[in-house]
Subunit: 342 residues, 2 copies
DNA sequence: GGGAAAATTGGTAGCGCTACCATAGATGGG
DNA sequence: CCCATCTATGGTAGCGCTACCAATTTTCCC
């Protein structure tokens, strides 16, 4: 009976303080904040005044504990520095910045095992939604997603059988379109150069292969890959490797723009004329591709928009309106530039 | 007396389940998990077995509520896509991946107001530590940091008066070193080109100015800036602007590597010889600078290491060992390359 | 070997919030 | 005008965990 008041909480106002000041019950304050429509105009105003005066901020932990549901979006990406995912993440952050939802991000480092570990961790927090990159989850990961009990959005790809919702585009089609463009421009000995052959890269390679085979141009020696992480420097090395294997190479489809830039630089350094001697196509269309000299043809993808759309779909699902379209294909565009203009 | 068991929590095991299975008190389980040293070997083993068998994962929300302290690092950066901050963030994530700490990231979009808003939000969650970019907080932000009641690490800069701890390097010295290098190489009409003139960019500019003035070379018309966000494309435009103002320009110190790359491409396009006619120095030394043609001189900064060090210092502080060195200067290195070799 | 100190374990009482149910007043149809 | 239905508000009882303190056992010192 001695200590009347919070010994632990550092004196921050609680919902009870607001309720007392506004002359209402605590539960009414809670409602006024979460479902304003269910509280009369009068009380709502009174409560808002008390909130403002006290500087009350609800404790998300207490809220999560009591409601068995955290206002958190779990986001899982394979890399934080890869510009492509950084843009998706930026879209997610921007879309969520004015909502009560926080973001819990995880970096899987392209590892299925790490993805399982993080998913387990995330699911244990009962997130409001999960956004994960790719559709190639391990069986355990997929089960974790299915039983997470919240909307799930897979991003960056398209496909027939998402766990729940899916936003992205076809890497296969992207790879094929890029390759067909080179063929159309008259290139014949067209190589594929790729680092870090994750599932999306594999699909781009498959698209390349399909286009080459359809044109009767495919030769496995035209493909040069490595498990190393993409970088501009690696692009240079891979072009050297490719040329060593196949000196008559007259075009390259690069798995991404970093590689493409490295290839371009290596061409400069080796005095190989672009687009005359070798044509170059990149993937993702980072800003620098339009400014490079010569400017580089690339497949434009809509990373930021994918992040935004994923959040929008998750938010709708949380609000109970499951979208009529569970699978959204945002497509891509071929940006024709100097590196393939001859 | 009817409903005996959790109606809300979806049946996940709780600490009480573990305690029952291990035949001990709940509090002992709690201790075994958090302070294993205070529980006897025997019980610890028993409890671990029960935890494993049940697949128990502690609820971070309940933990945070009960202990009035969340196992969360708040991280505030001005941009998610800027490669520089992405690397710092990667260092933070990597350093924290095996700890119980989660990360709550915020994107301030280079806005002091947004920083205040996020800090307010973060502080209300009683984080275990806060990591913020820069030392130029608004007075309110600074007060929020000071009263957050947790270790605070400011990163990316150095300076005399951190809120708590500080890891970074001197942008002023970096700018001066870059400029002195150009002077030393015989360049005289050296321009400064910069976008998004945040406080760090301003300090690099100040370093540039100091070097130019010391050499008697400073002319305000040599400085070209814009409030727009950095990009390769913008680098091209800014070089054009700079040349229009000052056609005799023979060198440029670029505020960052994106700009430097744009400048390089514009030189190619305009058939300006690099390094002969114009020398170029960038800032940050992204991977692509060493691979560019010609390769580009840049100031190498240790972004990833800054992230790691910030976490290490915060972790030490949380453990009660305040580091003897509150201010850590990780320095930078000038990487001399072809773009200034003549 | 006795008593103090240290180590080990447990019980109780919340942390701040919301789900659930109850209650009182408002509305409305016959 | 009465009773059923709906609306607005409140009380109670936890959510799962840990701080605090008490109780017990072990260790240690002279």
């Amino acid at each position: 009976m001695t200590k009347p008041r919070s010994r632990r909480g550092g004196g921050r106002p609680t919902i009870a303080d607001v309720a007392r000041k506004a002359g209402v019950g605590a539960i009414t304050v809670s409602r006024a904040l979460r479902e304003p429509g269910r509280v009369s105009e009068d009380l709502r105003r009174q409560i808002q005044a008390a909130v403002d005066e006290l500087g009350y901020i609800p404790d998300p932990n207490a809220r999560a504990l009591a409601s068995a549901r955290a206002e958190v979006f779990g986001v899982l990406v394979p890399s934080l520095t890869n510009n492509v995912f950084a843009e998706v993440v930026r879209g997610i952050y921007d879309s969520l910045s004015d909502s009560p939802f926080r973001i819990q991000m995880g970096n899987t480092h392209y590892s299925g095992l790490e993805e399982e570990r993080l998913l387990q961790l995330f699911a244990s927090q009962r997130p409001a939604a999960l956004i994960v990159a790719g559709i190639d989850q391990t069986p355990l990961s997929r089960k974790l997603l299915e039983t997470a009990g919240c909307p799930v959005v897979q991003v960056m790809e398209t496909g027939p059988d998402p766990v729940d919702m899916l936003v992205g585009f076809s890497h296969f089609d992207g790879g094929r379109t890029a390759t067909e463009h080179l063929i159309e421009k008259g290139y014949r000995r067209i190589g594929f150069i790729g680092a870090r052959m994750d599932p999306r890269s594999q699909r781009r390679l498959a698209g390349y292969r399909a286009a080459m085979q359809a044109a009767g141009l495919y030769d496995p020696r035209l493909v040069t890959t490595t498990p190393l992480l993409s970088s501009v420097t690696l692009g240079r090395e891979l072009l050297r490797d490719a040329l060593a294997k196949m000196p008559t190479l007259d075009g390259v489809f690069c798995n991404n723009d970093d590689i493409a830039l490295g290839v371009l630089f290596e061409c400069h350094r080796a005095a190989i004329a672009v687009p005359k001697t070798i044509g170059i196509v990149g993937f993702n269309d980072l800003d620098m591709m339009q400014s490079a000299f010569p400017s580089v043809t690339s497949i434009r993808t809509h990373r930021y928009e994918i992040g935004r759309r994923a959040v929008a779909m998750a938010l709708a699902a949380i609000a109970g309106q499951r979208p009529q379209q569970r699978i959204v294909d945002l497509g891509f565009e071929l940006r024709r530039r100097e590196s393939t203009t001859r």
